[in-house]
């Protein structure tokens, strides 16, 4: 029985975290975009406008829920829920610190990628259910884009998995620091099992994973429908794409899903390539920085810092690069990223056989 209570508490905690992150993320996005464009962003609500997103969410929740007359009511009502739940469930398998993971499953990575693919279904439901040309166009683009980009993302992930030899996210995290049971080698040459720190991260254990990480990062931008791959929303062409018709709490849910997706894909990237909850500080002789900064609290702190940095990069990219055209998007995916990801996978195999 206690078992289930713990589960509920963990689920509620994750939901609260996702909600708080979304509030913070929207605020950060507004401020970053404002500073990039030499503006000030929100300044009026609270100190430096910090309560702006809270005010926004209160406003959104009070709004009327409008269902278009011609909409498919069942699909329309269910879509935001499915979009959000698909992303939210992904958090279940992600490790936060040594020994701290909501669900310790040995196919964690596989599960995460399977469950966030369901988001496409929700987006298609939203587009179709709205019975609106722009919505369906956005949904179709989104489906095409997510399915396409899952291939380079998948191969980039496989190249990391081949190095790690496991799908368990907690084990992958463990291998990238001083807690590793196996030997970790910096660039495959220098044994850094005791040194740890940034040297033991996957991207430095096998340098070709740096390319795999970039491929994964680009593909994750496309999977979370972020600029420059935001053609499913494309506000200048499609009003707001698949979520044009949503109002009030449903719109809030779609927004929540978008921001939690940003956090989720960044977190997966951090776990696979950037050392998960491991500290970037190495042990240097008697100054055992890595040992000092490893632990449950430290794990959560490093995880948050790394993930938020990646989220910050996502925002930075969004406010810099213009949107890609559909053909450019597909060109990039199939002609550049996919072959490169294949090459990475090949190098991973060779690396595993001859170097490690």
């Amino acid at each position: 029985m206690n078992f289930y209570i713990t589960y509920f508490i963990i689920a509620a905690g994750l939901f609260a975290f996702v909600g708080i992150f979304t509030l913070f993320g929207v605020y950060a996005e507004r401020k970053i975009s404002a500073f990039i464009q030499n503006r000030l962003g929100p300044t009026e609500t609270g100190k430096f406008g910090s309560l702006q997103t809270l005010a926004d969410i209160v406003k959104l929740l009070q709004k009327e829920l409008i269902i278009p007359a011609a909409a498919d009511k069942v699909l329309f009502m269910m879509a935001p829920g499915i979009i959000f739940i698909a992303v939210y469930l992904g958090f279940a398998a992600l490790p936060w610190a040594p020994g701290l993971v909501p669900s310790h499953i040995n196919i964690g990575l596989y599960y995460v990628f399977a469950i966030i693919s369901i988001e496409t279904l929700g987006i298609l439901m939203a587009g179709w259910g709205s019975n609106n040309k722009y919505s369906i166009l956005g949904a179709m683009r989104s489906a095409a884009q997510i399915i396409s980009y899952e291939i380079p993302a998948g191969f980039a992930i496989i190249s990391a998995v081949m190095i790690a030899q496991t799908l368990n996210l907690q084990d992958i995290a463990m291998q990238q620091g001083i807690l590793s049971a196996e030997k970790t080698k910096f660039l495959g040459l220098w044994d850094v099992s005791a040194t740890g720190g940034i040297l033991a991260w996957n991207v430095f254990q096998a340098p070709h994973l740096l390319i795999a990480f970039v491929i994964y990062f680009i593909a994750s931008l496309a999977e979370s429908n972020r600029a420059p791959f935001d053609i499913p929303e494309a506000e200048s062409e499609l009003v707001a794409g698949f979520h044009t018709e949503f109002t009030g709490p449903q719109f809030a849910l779609v927004f929540l899903a978008e921001y939690s997706m940003m956090f989720l894909v960044s977190m997966v990237g951090v776990v696979l390539f950037l050392g998960a909850w491991n500290t970037p500080l190495p042990n240097i002789g008697s100054v055992t920085l890595a040992t000092w900064t490893t632990g449950t609290i430290w794990g959560i702190i490093w995880m948050l810092i790394k993930t938020l940095l990646l989220v910050g990069v996502q925002m930075w990219i969004r406010w810099t690069l213009p949107r890609l055209r559909v053909d450019q998007l597909m060109n990039l995916c199939w002609k550049v990223l996919t072959p490169l990801a294949f090459a990475c996978m090949l190098i991973s195999g060779v690396w595993r056989l001859w170097v490690m």
Partner: protein, 201 residues
């Protein structure tokens, strides 16, 4: 082979240009984000101030406008001779004047013109006004002017109708009665004179 080279070149070029853009935006992100310093447009440094944050935090900060700015209309009713020229020239009919003839010269404007009319009503509907300034040009006594006031935000549309007449309705009624009386007297005098003429002839 050639086309392959071209493609790789294009992909590389894409990455390089993307990096150029990203480095530009990150520079702006960490540039000073202090509030904009407000200087007049006549200042030599005006355009240099735009390198920083551009936003003017409006009600808290305001760009100085010259004293001779031409925004809201203002009427110095003591100087008005109620000639109605401004109402006539107004292209959008936003000036509404009702005059009452005085029984005698009421006074003088500051430039020495005689005032012969009371302004029972002198309303300017600023919601209609198109700020052409024609009324200020035709005014013979220069009593209608444009000021440098530009922010008159109101909660109700009728508040944008500015009433410049300083006469109370009772005053106006009294003056009307006086005028009627005088006209009646004049009429009577006229009639009497005509009668006298007739009887004399």
């Amino acid at each position: 082979m050639k086309s392959k080279n071209k493609m790789i070149k294009r992909a590389l070029n894409g990455l390089i240009t993307a990096w150029k853009g990203l480095s530009l935006t990150i520079k702006h992100l960490f540039k000073s984000n202090s509030k904009r310093e407000i200087v007049s447009i006549t200042d030599d440094n005006y355009f240099k101030k735009q390198g920083n944050t551009n936003t003017i935090q409006y009600p808290k900060q305001q760009l100085p406008v010259p004293e001779v700015g031409r925004y809201q209309l203002e009427v110095e009713i003591d100087d008005c001779i109620v000639c109605d020229l401004c109402a006539k020239i107004c292209p959008v009919n936003c000036i509404d004047i009702e005059s009452i003839k005085a029984t005698e010269v009421i006074g003088q404007t500051s430039d020495g013109s005689k005032k012969m009319l009371y302004a029972a009503k002198f309303d300017i509907d600023m919601a209609k006004c198109m700020y052409c300034g024609l009324c200020t040009i035709v005014c013979p006594t220069e009593c209608i002017v444009m000021t440098n006031q530009y922010d008159r935000t109101v909660f109700e549309l009728k508040d944008l109708t500015y009433e410049f007449s300083d006469m109370s309705p009772e005053d106006a009624a009294e003056k009307r009665i006086l005028l009627e009386k005088q006209q009646a007297e004049k009429q009577a005098a006229k009639l009497a004179a005509m009668k006298q003429k007739e009887s004399g002839a």
